[in-house]
Symmetry: C2
Subunit: 147 residues, 2 copies
């Protein structure tokens, strides 16, 4: 099977399949006389695994571990679960960070008239006329108390 078909079947681009081979994430396949890579069903399966793990936000290094665990018949599910929960914790951390940004901005935007005049709490906040965090907390208080 040529790389293009594997790409179609696995959902991983040919570009990335070559890249994963180069970094040793997947083994180099055999070559035909034409020097074309030659894949089998097992490779499609493995690359599908990689794609699904990527879709769930695992890093390449984590996927390397997951592939090793997948192939290891003597693995403990505890190890898989532990790796997964570490990743969940990382996702939670990122979500909290983004949510904090969003909330700060939403509060600034809420206080901004959004009209033709230049006066703008968003710009003022960024300019540091007010400390952004203090401003954020003041906002929260003003909003919860004043509305």
């Amino acid at each position: 099977m040529q790389i293009g078909e594997v790409a179609r079947l696995s959902g991983v681009s040919a570009k990335m399949i070559r890249h994963y081979e180069e970094i040793g994430l997947v083994p180099p396949p055999g070559r035909r006389g034409s020097n074309y890579r030659d894949y089998g069903h097992h490779d499609v399966h493995r690359l599908g695994f990689v794609r699904r793990a990527r879709d769930l936000g695992f890093s390449i290094e984590q996927i390397r571990d997951l592939l090793r665990l997948w192939a290891d018949r003597r693995r403990s599910s505890a190890e898989v679960k532990q790796l997964t929960e570490a990743h969940i914790a990382e996702l939670d951390r990122k979500i909290r960070l983004l949510a904090e940004m969003r909330d700060t901005l939403a509060n600034l935007a809420h206080a901004c008239d959004g009209d033709d005049r230049p006066d703008c709490p968003i710009i003022d906040g960024l300019a540091g006329d007010l400390d952004t965090h203090a401003q954020y907390h003041n906002m929260v208080q003003a909003l919860s108390g004043g509305e």
Copy 2:
């Protein structure tokens, strides 16, 4: 003022200050006889603005616009607000994406015993023995119905 002090005062590393100059985000400062960059208070203020905008997740190009608006006395707050709300929408999109990953993984992990045996729904899900999304939705149903 040397770049190191500006870095300290603004919270932007000297490395990044030079980078922002190179990409035209901030104007090149004057130079002393030693060829050292020479900054004033205004530069510290501007870089503080940049840092706060970065902390809120704005991209460099968005910050370029924000700096222009900041300097424009005839700006409309509507323009600032519009830019901000576009960014908020982008943050929401990222948060939703990450939350979906987290929820899928949390459900898989929930179904995983995490013991010494190799059987593992997480690995099975990644291996595509079940479609991940279908599995996720089945999980949700199983969890809400079965507990």
